[in-house]
Amino acid sequence: MKKSVQIGFFLLPAVALTGIFIYYFAGWSAWASMLSWEGLSGFGHFIGLQNYIDLFTKDFVFRKGLINTLILSGSFIAVTLPLGLLNAILIDLGLKGKKAFRLIFLLPLSFSFVVSATMWVWMFAPQSGTINTLLRGIGLGALAQPWLTSSSQSLLGLVIIYVWQFSGFATLVYFAGISSVRTELLEAAEVDGATTFQKYIRVVIPLQKIPTFTVLFLLLMYALRVFDLVWLTTGGGPGYSSELLATYMWRVAFNRNQFADGAAIGFVMFILSALIVIPFVVKMRGDTS
């Protein structure tokens, strides 16, 4: 058999499946998002960018979802990055029980978002939740909060849940980054009389640019797409206080059956994904080659 035919055979499953399930579908979404929606009779005629114009100018929930997605991403990443670095340094110190702590830090990564959502709804429950009960138990009942059930705190609650769920990933990447710092550099710093604290501040942390960039990128990607963690805790509420693009897309497409608008929101998310991934890949390729 000719070599090129054999190569084609080996590539066929990957190319065919990604071709259909990613590129054909994305193209279909782009096309469908430019059609009118006639309710029960389905897609109508071509209306150009009208669905997008309506989303951005008339649909306040869509705008709310976009803003909330940005706020949630920014806040939880701002906490997760330094926390991950701290966790990684604590493990790196080489204290007793470091393997146990490493497992504890990574454990939330193994939890499906469905299970995390279940646990955190219970943790945050206003009356019989773990957090408020503990606060009352130690005499800090005044600090008990309505958490996820309040429209002013629902996003904050999600930030806490996201930090819990994702900081293990940051820990992992930073730990790999710290472990790869060359021992000669650390020994040289030691010869110069640097304390442990100074070694981290002056040598280790400045070398964590690529890990930081990697974590930032992957967390942005997750922040855009995560659905279950929100859908099963706040459900985007109360009101639309914690609605995100990911939840609103599902609501529009599969609760209201408005497929043209749903496709338009989906395609906005496609563009946002591309805006996140392209700089990352360009930077990574530039750094490694």
Partner: protein, 276 residues
Amino acid sequence: MNFDQLSAPVRIGIYLVLLALSLFYLLPIYSLINTSLKSEQELASSPVSPVQNPTFAAYKQAFGKINQSFLNSVIMALSATALSAIFGCMSGYIFSKYKFKGSNVLFFLIIIGFYIAPQSILIPLVRFIGSLGLYNTLFGLILTHTAYGIPITTLLFYNYIDPIPHSLIEIAQIDGASVFNIFTRIILPLSLPGFAVVGIFQFTNIWNEFLFGLTLTSGKASQPVTVAVANLKGTTVAAWNVHMAGAFISIVPVLLIYIFFLRLVIKGLLLGSVKE
């Protein structure tokens, strides 16, 4: 680093920080287990305090409700993991060892599929799966997870196969070995450890997935365990012990993988993100 060189107050401070962090990470998990071990009466009278009379009644009840879905998830995750791993190994091999015109672009187009938010393809996916008659079938879910697994399995296997020296391939080619022969005799045996890493990565991801399961199924016959656990919430108002027990049962396979194969889990997560 050498922890013992630090002064005693600093060491105590560090352990206090570690204790606080561990509390943050473990409290929800403790809450989950504590609630799941309570009887309905105990849960009603003291919802938060540590369990006094632990019982597995909630587990029994939860298992009765989600056992079919648990089995669905086993079949779905194992099949889609195996298929996406073998397809990714095949394509990763070609992209690493046989460069052709446009192969880099094609490779790039395949792997960035991993980074695309699933919402942007969800509507055509539902219609496509429906038009094949695969809505609400396990096969529909397996096909979907296989397809969306390929970008990351291709990348992981590419990273795994690329260090295998090209000279090894060239020598085999001079001896007349075909693309297929080289794959079965050189690449496959050398990338067996890669299958462990990719397999664990894919299995845990597919097992924990919810959105496709929710959107592509309705009813118990084919729904994955994540969707079944989410549905436990709706069945009875006060049955949080059953909900928690079901949640715990649903993550046992992934939890065991994390505890026993943490090294492989870490390797998969790092290969999928740090290297590009």
